[in-house]
């Protein structure tokens, strides 16, 4: 009895380890390939560990096109979006959760309905709109929409705010506080975990966004890392060692942010069921 339980436990671990290997192997292969010489990478059968470690690949990849500029561009967009997501969505959510105004419920239904539209449907009219105001090839189309609030973030925060007891607001109102004071003295401090989740997902979304920059930016000096990587691929298609070094450089910032904010990520996904 004990023995058969042992065997079944080992089997479960075995399958989990296979799954984990499936998740880690591509990342290992990426880093391993990024550190090999172009000759070593073509050896058959493939070697697992590079010898010697060719750190030169990173220098070569990052200087062949201006990845540091792409890094700065991506950072500019990401931070502007992050600020927008936090400020606009929390204000909007506060309004839906706590203030009463005519038509609030209708607007809230409209907001929810707007989440149903696939981005492919809105992409073309939005693009034509930005072209009419002559803002193609600027960061406005990538940043401004976030400053008008994201439906999903507003929805999530509203649910969170609704769980904060109303007594707190009422006590503050009695003490003469206005809605603004209540917002930043009571609601914001109590919803920090939710705001962190939204901040992290906003960071990931704009850092990893590809369709947006692809459609709106057409001048190389304005490219983001994701676009830069695609351009790099077209320039160095068969130079796998350089391509892998460049890809590693693009992935590293998100991996670092992920490990710092890990706990909140897992909570966030469980909370929202959202795709990262």
């Amino acid at each position: 009895m004990l023995r058969s339980r042992r065997i079944s436990q080992i089997t479960v671990y075995f399958f989990l380890l296979i799954g984990a290997a499936f998740c880690l192997l591509p990342l290992f292969w990426l880093i391993r390939s990024s550190l090999m010489t172009s000759i070593q990478i073509f050896e058959m059968p493939p070697k697992w560990i590079p010898a010697p470690f060719q750190f030169q690949n990173y220098v070569e990849a990052l200087t062949s096109i201006d990845f540091f500029r792409f890094f700065r561009n991506t950072l500019t967009i990401t931070i502007s979006c992050l600020a927008g997501a936090l400020i606009s969505s929390s204000l909007g959510a506060y309004s839906y959760a706590r203030l009463s105004w005519p038509g609030r419920n209708i607007f809230f239904s409209l907001l929810l309905a707007s989440m149903m539209l696939p981005s492919a449907v809105t992409l073309i009219p939005t693009f034509i709109g930005w072209r009419l105001v002559d803002l193609i090839n600027t960061y406005f189309p990538l940043i401004m929409p976030v400053w008008f609030g994201s439906a999903f973030d507003i929805f999530l925060l509203r649910q969170f705010y609704s769980s904060i007891p109303k007594d707190l607001d009422e006590a503050a109102y009695v003490d003469g506080a206005g809605p603004w004071t209540i917002f930043y003295r009571i609601i914001i401090p109590l919803s920090k975990p939710a705001l962190i989740v939204i901040g992290l997902f906003s960071f990931m979304n704009s850092w990893n966004d590809f369709m947006g920059p692809l459609v709106y930016l057409n001048e190389e000096s304005k490219f983001t890392m994701a676009l830069g990587l695609q351009m790099f691929q077209s320039l160095h298609s068969a130079q796998w060692h350089l391509l892998m070094a460049a890809s590693t450089f693009v992935i590293m910032p998100v991996i670092i942010v992920f490990f710092i904010g890990q706990r909140y990520f897992i909570e966030g996904i469980t909370l929202t069921g959202m795709k990262g």
Partner: protein, 253 residues
């Protein structure tokens, strides 16, 4: 691009009467992808979450982190990694197949294997689904299992008669979200295959992008996009309809 001119329903008739030769092709390719990816993704994620939820497993949070890690990799970068893994001459996968004395595959470069290859790649990024399943499994009340043990139920019966029914709302949620996501696959097609070979991976979103931004056919592309919206709406509606017969909500008992 030209100034817009009102042409009534022309953009739609051009799609349905076959003047645009790619429309039905793109629909077929996309449905093939969705039909492969959604069930495989659900089964794979459910199995991983179920194993991970077993009581004796140590290092749960490490496993969880590992399974989630691929999700945060930018799609452009993961596409780069997977083109490299799929490379017919030098890729890791073909080296494995060779080492096992199996015939090698052309992966992304053959019409038969391109969609399954991209499905395989999508299984790599199932971390969110796994974590949602795991959270659901942790929420199944232990008292139910204990009662079943008292009644003499074995592992299989507990799984079939407690775990699965209690998880149906979450399976349903992941089914809906997974299908909506799968219909909108894009970056993989753009980076890895450009819709090829011979349009065998002309996924719907890439088709829209190609018509609008590479061919400058904004009106035509908008018509194609609206049809995607209708399809997603209909598929979701069908799922909701059928859900009454298989999704079990505790609050309704």
């Amino acid at each position: 691009m030209n100034t817009p001119k009102f042409i009534g329903l022309d953009n739609y008739t051009r799609l349905f009467d076959g003047t645009d030769q790619y429309f039905y092709n793109s629909l077929a390719v996309t449905f093939k992808y969705v039909i492969l990816r959604v069930p495989l993704g659900l089964i794979f994620s459910f199995i991983v979450a179920f194993l991970l939820n077993m009581e004796f497993i140590r290092g749960k949070s490490i496993f969880r982190t590992i399974f989630y890690l691929p999700v945060i990799v930018p799609a452009v970068a993961s596409s780069m990694i997977w083109i490299w893994l799929f490379s017919p001459d030098l890729g890791l996968f073909n080296s494995f197949l060779e080492a096992l004395n199996l015939p090698t595959l052309n992966w992304l470069y053959s019409e038969e294997t391109v969609v399954p290859s991209i499905v395989l790649m999508s299984l790599w990024g199932m971390g969110s689904t796994i974590i949602i399943f795991l959270a659901g499994l942790q929420g199944v009340p232990r008292s139910l299992y204990e009662a079943a043990i008292v009644d003499g139920a074995g592992a299989m019966r507990k799984f079939l008669h407690i775990t699965i029914p209690m998880m149906t709302p979450i399976i349903f949620f992941n089914l809906i979200m997974g299908s909506i996501g799968a219909f909108q696959v894009f970056t993989e097609a753009l980076i890895m295959t450009q819709g090829g070979p011979n349009n065998a991976s002309l996924f719907y979103n890439y088709y829209i992008y190609r018509e609008a931004f590479l061919f400058g056919e904004m009106g035509h592309a908008s018509a194609i996009a609206w049809i995607l919206f209708m399809i997603i709406l209909i598929v979701t509606a069908i799922f909701f309809r059928t859900s009454k017969s298989w999704v079990f909500y505790e609050s309704e008992v």
